[in-house]
Symmetry: D2
Subunit: 383 residues, 4 copies
C-alpha cells in the first residue's frame, strides 16, 4: 500500500507531498532530501529561477525525533517567489483584472491543457504542468532512498549526451563498469557527466544553442545497485519490474524515450550477442558475465544493477519562439511567447530519474518483504 501524491503550482505558496506506506522506525534525515533538491537545481544550463529557489523540505507529519511513525509523511517545499505572485495566484477571488496568457508554446501543455480543462488563461495550465513539479518527486525519491539504503540499495545517475555530444563507445553495465570515483566525478561535473572532456563539450554545445535562442535535450542513465533477486513478476503485465520502471521514467516531463539495459541497441544484435550468461561461484553467489538485460529478466530483477536510460527532448520554451496560435483570437501567430526558462535540463532530469526509480523499488521491496516497522521488515529481509 505504498503510494504518494504531489501537489502545488509553480508560483503558488508551496509544493506539498504526501507519502503513505513506509514502515515505522526508519531514520530519516532532512539534509539528505535537501541535498537531492539542490542537485536537481544545479547543473549547467539552468535559468534564473534556480537562483531564486533554494529548495528545502519541511516535514509536517509522519516523522518524529528523526524517525518515521508509520503514518503518512508530509513534506512541504516553499516557493520563495510566492511573495511576488500572491495576488496573481490567490486561491480566493481577487478584484483586480488579471492579465491572461493566451499564446501557447509548442511542445508544452499550454494548448492541450487549455483545451482539456476548458481554460482561456493558459496560466491556469502552466502552473501545474511546469516541471517545477519535479521538485516534489525529488523529495519523494530522497525519502525512498533512505529507505532503500537500509537494504543496501543505492541509486545513481549520469548524463550520457547533450544533442549530438556524448559517449561514442559502448559502455559496460555490470557492477564493475561503475565505481565510486565515477560517481564522484559525476557529482563534481556541472553537467553531471563522468568525463571532464565531455562535460566541457556539452557546455559548449549548450552555449551555442543559447546564443541561437535555442534549447538542448539529451540522454541520462540511471542505475540501481544492490537490488535483490526477485523484485517484480511476469505473473501479470502490470507487475513486471520493467513495466513499473517504464511507467515511472516515462512520466518524467519532456521524456520521449526509455531504455532498459542494452535497450534499442539490443534490437541491432542477435540473441547470442545479447543474452547475459549466468554464473554461480563456488560460494553460491550468482552473477552474469554481461548486463545487457539491465538487471531484469522476465520482468524480475536478476541481481545485476538495474540500468535504464531516458531521452529528454529539448526544452520547449525558446528564447526565439516558434510560430503558434493565440487562443484568445484564434489566430495563427508568428511567434509564441517566451516564459523564463532553462536552456538544458538534462543534468537535473537525471536527478528526477533517480527519484522516480526509488519509489518503484520501494514498492517492490515492500511487496516482497512486508513489515510495519523497519525492525520487522529487516528481520523478514534477513530471514
Amino acid at each position: 500500500m505504498f503510494r504518494f501524491l504531489t501537489a502545488g503550482e509553480s508560483h503558488g505558496p508551496c509544493l506539498t507531498i504526501v507519502v503513505e506506506g513506509l514502515p515505522a522506525g526508519l531514520p530519516v534525515e532532512k539534509a539528505l532530501i535537501d541535498a537531492d533538491l539542490r542537485r536537481r537545481q544545479g547543473g549547467y544550463g539552468r535559468g534564473g529561477r534556480m537562483k531564486i529557489e533554494k529548495d528545502e523540505i519541511r516535514f509536517l507529519s509522519g516523522v518524529r525525533h528523526g524517525k518515521t511513525l508509520g503514518s503518512p509523511i508530509t513534506m512541504q517545499i516553499e516557493n520563495r517567489d510566492w511573495v511576488n505572485w500572491e495576488e496573481r495566484m490567490s486561491a480566493a477571488p481577487v478584484d483586480a483584472e488579471m492579465e491572461r496568457v493566451s499564446r501557447v508554446r509548442p511542445g508544452h501543455a499550454d494548448f492541450t491543457g487549455a483545451i482539456k480543462y476548458g481554460q482561456d488563461d493558459v496560466r491556469n495550465v502552466i502552473e501545474r504542468s511546469s516541471s517545477r513539479e519535479t521538485a516534489s518527486r525529488v523529495a519523494v525519491g530522497g525519502l525512498c532512498r533512505q529507505f532503500l539504503a537500509q537494504f543496501g540499495i543505492e541509486i545513481h545517475s549520469h548524463v550520457l549526451s547533450v544533442v549530438e555530444v556524448g559517449y561514442e563507445e559502448e559502455r559496460g553495465m555490470t557492477a564493475d563498469a561503475y565505481s565510486q570515483e565515477m560517481w564522484e566525478a559525476v557529482e563534481a561535473s556541472p553537467m553531471r557527466c563522468a568525463r571532464p572532456e565531455l562535460t566541457e563539450k556539452m557546455i559548449e554545445r549548450i552555449l551555442e544553442a543559447k546564443r541561437a535562442g535555442d534549447t538542448c535535450g539529451g540522454v541520462f542513465e540511471v542505475v540501481a545497485f544492490g537490488v535483490p533477486i526477485g523484485l517484480g513478476s511476469y505473473s501479470q503485465w502490470d507487475r513486471r519490474l520493467s513495466t513499473r520502471i517504464g511507467m515511472a521514467l516515462m512520466s518524467i516531463p519532456s521524456t520521449k524515450g526509455v531504455e532498459i539495459g542494452a535497450g534499442f541497441g539490443a534490437t541491432r544484435r542477435t540473441g547470442s550477442q545479447v543474452h547475459d550468461v549466468l554464473r554461480r561461484s563456488e560460494e553460491g553467489q550468482w552473477s552474469h558475465l554481461t548486463n545487457n538485460a539491465g538487471g531484469i529478466e522476465g520482468g524480475i530483477s536478476n541481481g545485476e544493477p538495474i540500468v535504464a536510460r531516458v531521452g529528454i527532448k529539448p526544452i520547449p520554451s525558446l528564447a526565439r519562439p516558434l510560430p503558434s496560435v493565440d487562443l484568445a483570437t484564434g489566430e495563427n501567430i508568428d511567434q509564441s511567447r517566451y516564459e523564463r526558462s532553462d536552456v538544458c535540463v538534462v543534468p537535473a532530469a537525471g536527478v528526477v530519474g533517480e527519484a522516480m526509480l526509488a519509489p518503484v523499488l520501494t514498492e517492490a521491496l515492500l511487496e516482497k518483504y512486508g513489515g510495519d516497522s523497519m525492525d520487522e521488515m529487516l528481520r523478514h529481509f534477513r530471514s
Copy 2:
C-alpha cells in the same frame, strides 16, 4: 473502473481473460478478435507451435446476442496442445514422477522466477512467463479496438527493423505520412513491414540467424489515429498519457525500449527543430505541422496520431544454447537448454503493441466521457 486480468499457463487447458468496465450495448464481434489472434500468430520466423495453435476466443460472460451487458466479459482461448500435457500440467497431484527442468535459459525468467518463487522445477516458471500469455492481451486489445472504433479511433502497427535491417531515412509522423494502402501492404507482408524490398531483406536476415542457431529482435511502431484532444493529464505523474503508454508498451515481453514521437532522435536535435508548430484553420480545426511529439504534449493527447516505437530484444531461446547454470546441481554448464521457439517475433510483437495501446486509450476515454451504456457515452462524447 476499467481493468482486466489475464490468466493461464502455456500448456494448461486454456488462457482466460476477464475484462471489466466497458459500457453496455457495445456491439462486439468475435471474428474481429479472432482475426487479431491470427495476426499475432502469423509473421515470418515463427516456430512450430503457431501451426498447432489456431487461437480463437470464446465469450463466456458479459456479451449477449452480440452486445456487451456492462458485466465483466470473460474470454477463453483453448490451448490445443493441452491433450499432450494433461498429466504434466495437471492441477491435481499426480502419482507419476515428473521430469524437472533445471537448466535455465539466459534472457528468460527461468532463473529469476525460480529464485523468486522458490521453485526447483523451472517448468513452474516458464509456463506463465512464456509469451503465450500475450495471446490474452491480444484478445483484450481486440475487444477494446471495437470500443475505440465507436469513437473513430483506429490503431495500426508495422515493423521498422530486424537486427540492422530497416528504414534508413527519417519518416514523418503526421496523419498524412500514413495511408490505408500502407496498412494494407503491412498486413500483406509476412514481416508486417510496409515495404516489399525491406520485407525481403528482413526475411533473409532471419534465415541467416536461423542457420546460425541464433535469433533476431527489432523495432515496431504503433500508431493510433483519431484520438481526441485531451486524454491524459499532467496533474499527477501517473495520469500522463505518456506514463500509461510507457507502462503498457514496456510490459510487452522482450521489450527493452519505448519511444514516443521522435523519441531518442529528439535528444539529438535542438528545440527549434523538434517542437511541432500548431495551426488553426479558418474552420477552427487544429493541426500541427509536424508530429515529433508523437501526439502527446504535456502528457495530454494533442489530436495528432499517437506514435510510439518499441524495441524488442532477440528471442532468448537459442537453437545453439548459451552457457548457463543447472539449478539442480548448482553447476555452471556449457549449454543451457533449447525449448521449442521462434526465431523472430517482431511482427507478432507489433500486434501485441496495438493490443496494449488499446486499453490505455479505452481507459482514458472512459475517464473523460464516462457513461454506462454506449448510447450514454456517445451522447457525452458528442455533447
Copy 3:
C-alpha cells in the same frame, strides 16, 4: 497486489474467477472449495435451482500438481442449466425473436440496472445481478481459507436470527464463547444455527412465510480465529481493517447492515461497560477480558476473534409479487413478476460472509508479511 475478479451470468455457460497474488507453493485442495460451494447451496429455504446446480470448481490455471505457482489462478464453475439457455443467452446474435422481461421486481436491480445500462430487456440485468454470482465469491473464499489455514487462521459463521426468531440473550465474543462442538452443530443444522430448538423455530418461520407467498431475511455472524495482532492500520481511512471488513461484508447482495463486535449494541451502553480490558499473562500472552471490540481496536486487529454480524433483507422475489411498473409500457402494474427463487438465504449468506472475510484477511496478511512463496512468507511470519 492481491486482487480478484469474478465474472459470469446466472444462465450463461459458467462462472469464472481469476485470483492474483497468492504466493507460490501453497497446497490447495479442490475438494475443500467444492465443500464450501455445497455449504452455500445447502440450508433450509432454498428453491429449486439448488437441486439443479451441484457446483464444483475446475482449476484452469495457477495450480500445478496440487500447489499454487504464483501465477493467476483461474477457477471455473459450470452452470448446469446452460443447455436450456444456450440460445437465450448466446453471446452471438440469434435469429429468433427473444422474449423480453419488462416487469421489474421491487428490491432487485431490475429497475436500477435497466435505467443505468439502458436496457429494455431486464434479462440483461438480472443475469449478473443475480446472487448466483456469490458462488464465485465462495470459490475465492475457499481458496483464501486454505492460505489462511497456513497461519492458523480459521473462519466460521452461524445464523443468529430469521425474521423475529433468534437468540434473545447476549452472547460473549471471546474465543472461549465458541467451540468446535458449536461449529459442528452449526454445520449439522439446516439453518446453520448452533441451537437445535432455534433451528426448528426458524424453519417454522420460513414455512409460514412460504405459505404466505412471502420471504424472510435474518442475521448471521462471521468469526475469524487466530488472526495475529497488527493487521490493518489507522494511518489512512482506507487501510483500517474495519474499513475493509465493512466494505467486504456490505458488498454481499441483500445486505442492509454490518456490525463489528458489540455493534449497535455498543451505542446503548457507556464506555466503562464497552471497552475490553487488556491482560498480559506471566508468559507474555495478551488477552482481553471481553471482546466488544470484535477483535479490532483503532482499525487494527488485537488478537481476539474478529467478530462481525450481517443483516440480510428478505429475498425480493415474492411468490405473491408486489405492485410495480412495466418498463415496456411505462405503466404501473398490480403485480411484478415472480422469478424462481428461494424463500430464505440467510444460511447461505453466512457462507458468503466467510468467503468475503477471507480475502480481506489474506490481503492484510500479505501486506504485513510479504513473500513470493509460502516458504518465504512463513519464514517471515515466524521470524
Copy 4:
C-alpha cells in the same frame, strides 16, 4: 481517478489534505469548508480541545481565483496547539529526554498500534490514531459537497440516539420524511438532533455519564438527496454503491455498525413489508412508495434519498480509567491513563459521516459522467 490522502498528527504543526481528480472550473468557497469544520467542532459533550482549535483550511494548491484548476488541491489546517508541542513532536531529533507514554487505553489504538509499529512510546501511535484526523476528512467532504451541489445533490446528518435515549417510533425515509425546517432544527441543536425534547434528554444523559467519569456513544443518520438513478453497479463486488458506502462509513473512528435504509430492522420483517413499490407518474417521473432500501437497489442508486445510519461506540478515554497494561513494565495495572477527551462525539461524528459520504458520491458521479471541466461534465450530465 478521484482520490485523496490525509496526513498529520494530532499535535503536529498541521493537518494536510491532497485531493486529486475534481474537474477544473468548480467554484469553491473556503468559507463553506470552514463552516463544516466548525460544525464538527461543535456539539454538546466536546472537551477542552475544541476551544483551542478553531479549525480553518488554507488552500495551498489547485484553486485559483475561486475556481479549481484540475490540478491536485491541497488544504491545510493549522494545529493551534503546536506551539506547546514543538519539541515533543519535533520532526528532527531533540536532545532532551522525552517522557514516554506506556499505559495503554482500552478501546484505543494504543495497544494494537504499539505492537504493530514496534513502538515503546504510545505517543507515536496516538498522534495519528486520534480522531483529530477526522478534521481532514471534513475538509475533503466540504470540498466534495460543493462539487455535488452543482448536480443538485445535498447531504445532511442528524443524531438519532445517545446511549438509550433516542427516537422510539419508526421513521420514514422518503424525501418527504425530511424537510428544510428539520435540518435547520438539527443545526440549531447542540446535539444535532431534530427534536428539542430529545436534545435535552440527550444532554442530560451525557451529563450523567460525565459525572460518573464515563462516556457515551450513539447513532446518527446521514442522508443524501438528489442522487441520480444509476450510481454504483452490481457488476463486481467492489463497485456496488452499498459497498463503497459501507467502506466509507465503517472507516469513521469508533464506528461499530453501519446500516443502509431499513438496515437490521429489515431482517425482522418479511419481504412484502420491506420492498419498496415503484411508481411512474404520468410525466414519467420515478418514485417509490417507501424507502426501506435506503436509495440503493442491486448496489445501484434508485433515485430515492440515500439513507444510512452509523453506530458510534462510547469514547474510550474515560475520566475513570479502566484497568489495563503498562507496556514499559509489562504489568497489569488497575488504571489506564486519561488523555484529555470529550464525553460524547456523536454530533461531530455525524458531520464526519456527511464528509465520508460525499467523496463516495463524487467518485461515482465522475465515473458515470466523466469530464475534465465543470462545463464539460454538466454538459454530459444534461445530455
